[in-house]
């Protein structure tokens, strides 16, 4: 099942169903996650912006996903994190996944929030989570993208 805030997401793949829901509503997330085994969470206002604009879909929405997943007894949240969680680290330090959070935007801060929310639900409630820090997933069109891109 796919979910979004719009009425219609167009053509569905074989086996795909669609349910409209607002990330900022715990009630909606409880409804769409009912009966699920796992959730792949990549929903968000997908750009940086004023804090108030990101607060509902990104901050509250992230909490709602984890809380609804926990309440329904899901096994795992697979989360689309982003390089912006550690975006201000210099590129020549060849960092691993253990470096401290160092976001440069509110959008990056949300990825840090989720990476700190995940372990609470794992350590205290047994809800697993995988946080995939995507570097870039796009056609390589500039020199800067030669290093981070996922081809």
């Amino acid at each position: 099942m796919s979910t979004d805030i719009v009425d219609d997401i167009g053509t569905l793949y074989d086996g795909e169903t669609y349910a409209k829901g607002d990330l900022a509503s715990l009630e909606d997330m409880m409804r769409v996650l009912e009966g699920a085994d796992m959730v792949v969470h990549m929903g968000a206002y997908a750009d940086d912006g004023p804090f108030e604009k990101l607060l509902g879909p990104n901050f509250v929405g992230t909490y709602n996903i984890w809380e609804a997943a926990h309440q329904h007894g899901l096994k795992r949240v697979v989360y689309g994190s982003f390089i912006h969680a550690i975006g201000m680290h210099p590129q020549n330090e060849f960092i691993d996944i253990g470096v401290r959070h160092r976001p440069g935007t509110f959008y990056g801060l949300i990825k840090c929030f989720a990476e700190d929310l995940g372990p609470i639900y794992w350590d205290k409630r047994g809800l697993e989570s995988v946080h995939m820090r995507i570097l870039s997933c796009a056609q390589v069109t500039n020199a800067h993208a030669l290093s981070p891109t996922m081809t």
């Binding site: 975006g87 697993e128 989570s129 995507i134 390589v140 500039n142 290093s147 081809t151």
Partner: protein, 83 residues
């Protein structure tokens, strides 16, 4: 990568980097090996053509040495590559 994130029997709380096996990869993903996916493809195959076609990156802009978020220039690079 996403498939492994779903199919790995036990993950606990895990963090991994999502990228390809690029010669110029700026991150080290070994601690995510539990997930068992191996990075494939390499953006280096595009390097010669891209470096020949694009404007030089501003070496005096500190943002161009950061992983992300550092500057308007980096934002522009992301925006362009997403089109």
């Amino acid at each position: 990568m996403w498939q492994r994130s779903i199919e790995t029997p036990v993950t606990g709380f895990s963090v991994a980097y999502g990228l390809s096996n690029n010669d110029r990869a700026p991150v080290y993903n070994a601690k995510a090996s539990l997930l068992g996916y191996r990075l494939t493809d390499n953006a280096e195959q595009f390097a010669e053509a891209i470096l020949a076609e694009t404007e030089p990156i501003d070496s005096q802009d500190p943002g161009n040495m950061c992983h992300g978020d550092g500057s308007q220039a980096w934002s522009l690079a992301i925006a362009v590559s997403l089109r």
